[in-house]
């Protein structure tokens, strides 16, 4: 019995070490997305924490050699959706804004500070913010984003397209207010 117990414990230690080595490097990346989902630091930290606990409990199901980061994002969205009673990210009150901006393709300002870019991103509805963050900051592929968020890849592409246009529109406003010249 002692031998079994010791072996089980050693196995758990080895698995936890492997898990920590492989997975804990992504905490801040997950946190950034969680922050956009929850819009509150404490809630975002709780979401990341719950994600890791779920991931540890399911680590035996993770297929080695596949994308661990994408797998963690998928778990995080599942945890988030289940907390939101499975209401996936919906367009709320953004259709009119989109209708106004969609025909206009704003040029990208040449000079921008990081703070202005962040402020413009914060202005976007979170259903646009999150795919932009996943694609342009965390550099997930469109397919990985679709899998993680549980939405069709076409929806990901459409949200990215509209979201990026909205972001440029926001930034153009910032650039003009700051007196920058916008290239046409």
């Amino acid at each position: 019995m002692i031998e079994d117990s010791a072996q089980n414990q050693l196995q758990r230690l080895q698995r936890l070490q492997a898990f920590e080595t492989e997975a804990l490097g992504f905490t801040s990346q997950l946190y950034r997305v969680a922050l956009r989902l929850c819009r509150d630091k404490a809630k975002a930290e709780d979401l990341v924490q719950e994600t890791y606990l779920q991931a540890w409990r399911s680590f035996h199901r993770f297929v080695q050699g596949t994308n661990l980061r994408a797998w963690l994002y998928k778990i995080m969205f599942n945890v988030y959706y289940s907390g939101q009673r499975r209401e996936k990210l919906q367009f709320v009150g953004t259709e009119e804004t989109i209708a106004e901006t969609i025909a206009y393709d704003p040029p990208t300002p040449q000079q921008l500070t990081d703070e202005e870019v962040l402020a413009a991103l914060e202005q976007l509805p979170k259903d646009f913010q999150v795919p932009i963050l996943l694609a342009d900051v965390e550099e997930l592929s469109y397919r990985e984003i679709a899998d993680a968020m549980g939405i069709p890849i076409g929806t990901v592409m459409s949200r990215l397209h509209r979201g990026r246009k909205l972001l440029r529109t926001e930034l153009t406003g910032y650039a003009r207010n700051a007196g920058y010249t916008i290239s046409k």
Binding site: I2, E3, A6, Q7, N8, Q9, L10, Q11, R12, L13, R15, L16, F19, E20, L24, T27, S28, Y31, R32, K41, E45, D46, V48, Q49, E50, L53, W56, R57, S58, F59, H60, R61, D105, P107, T108, P109, Q110, L112, D114, E115, V117, L118, L121, I132, L133, A135, D136, V137, E139, S141, Y142, M157, L160, H161, R164, L167, R168, L171, S183, K184
Partner: protein
């Protein structure tokens, strides 16, 4: 995509940066940018925007406390044995199908029965006084017992107050310190350079003494500062059974281990806990001032020690060390090695 004009170029440019386009479309993009200066400029601007987004978002980091809480919870779960079974090569049929296999049904039922008995046993044990608190679910409200388990003992507070009095009596008005001596390394390696670590929170305080003190049962890494004629002690000591009110060292839960206070004849004490250590600030200052000082003086030390403990914790679980040795012995006796 057969034709790449300025409109198409701008439509697919972001996907080009995301490496989502075919080789042919990538080629068309580059070819168009080469001969169209406005689109080349737009390309540079969008690349800058992407980089600015990455830089700006990189500033959002999980706090040290949250990372530490996460590691503690993971370790507690692993320690408690909550880990799903590793699939063996022959288990691809799935456990549900295996359940109906007559050869497995009986042992599995016996296993379920054993689990039920174990669960009842654990529940009974948890009701008994003096038990160790179980790891907390972050969403759960901690029970009074779990919070009480983290209370520090009066004996520790008395020893800390006594340590402050004894050592402060040797401090003269012109005493200055050269820093923590090397012998602290034998006592507690985490306290090497304690004076330098504490310096961040010791602005305006003059370091008078840095040494190791105490008796065989309780030792301290001890710094004494002077501020406006008052002597202030910062003490670091092991978080052992004697340091805890219950006499047992509970699993450490950072979010519950708040600053604790105590009063000992004319002295005020405030204490922080880490998983393995207690950090105390002692002085004759009024209660509120001592507490304020504890925040500024002790927190950099607490953060430093927690970081060190996090790095070292995993490989220093005594149970694992002991069991690993047992497995090694068993394997050696059988002439086999570990897998």
């Amino acid at each position: 995509m057969q034709k790449m004009d300025c409109h198409n170029f701008k439509e697919v440019l972001d996907s080009y940066f995301c490496e989502e386009l075919t080789v042919e479309t990538n080629h068309l993009i580059l070819h168009h940018a080469e001969r169209c200066p406005p689109c080349r400029s737009e390309m540079a601007s969008r690349r800058n925007l992407r980089l600015a987004l990455q830089r700006a978002c990189a500033q959002d980091q999980m706090s040290d406390d949250a990372c530490e809480r996460l590691r503690t919870l993971l370790r507690a779960e692993a320690k408690a044995g909550y880990v799903a079974k590793v699939k063996s090569a022959g288990s691809r049929r799935g456990w549900w199908a295996a359940f109906f296999d007559l050869k497995l049904a009986l042992p599995m039922m016996a296993g379920v029965a054993a689990l039920l008995v174990a669960a009842i046993g654990v529940a009974t044990y948890m009701q008994s006084p003096g038990r160790l608190p179980i790891p907390l679910d972050p969403a759960e409200t901690p029970s009074a017992g779990q919070v009480a388990a983290l209370h520090l003992s009066n004996a520790l507070m008395t020893e800390a107050a006594s340590g402050h009095r004894k050592c402060a009596s040797h401090v003269k008005s012109d005493s200055t310190s050269q820093g923590m001596p090397d012998e602290v390394n034998d006592l507690d390696p985490a306290c090497v350079d304690l004076d330098k670590i504490a310096a961040e929170g010791a602005q305006g305080l003059q370091l008078c003494l840095a040494h190791v003190c105490g008796d065989p049962d309780r030792h301290f890494a001890h710094l004494i500062y002077r501020h406006e004629g008052q002597l202030i002690s910062l003490l670091v000591t092991p978080r052992d059974g004697r340091a805890m009110q219950t006499g047992q060292v509970p699993i450490f839960v950072a979010r519950l281990a708040e600053l604790q206070e105590s009063q000992q004849t004319e002295l005020n004490l405030n204490a922080y806990q880490t998983e393995k250590r207690v950090i105390l600030v002692v002085s004759a200052l009024p209660k509120s001032e001592n507490e304020k000082l504890a925040h500024t003086l002790a927190l950099p030390v607490v953060k430093h020690i927690r970081r060190i403990e996090n790095q070292a914790a995993l490989l220093k679980w005594p149970e694992f060390d002991r069991n690993f040795a047992e497995i090694e012995l068993l394997s050696t006796a059988r002439g086999g090695g570990l897998r």
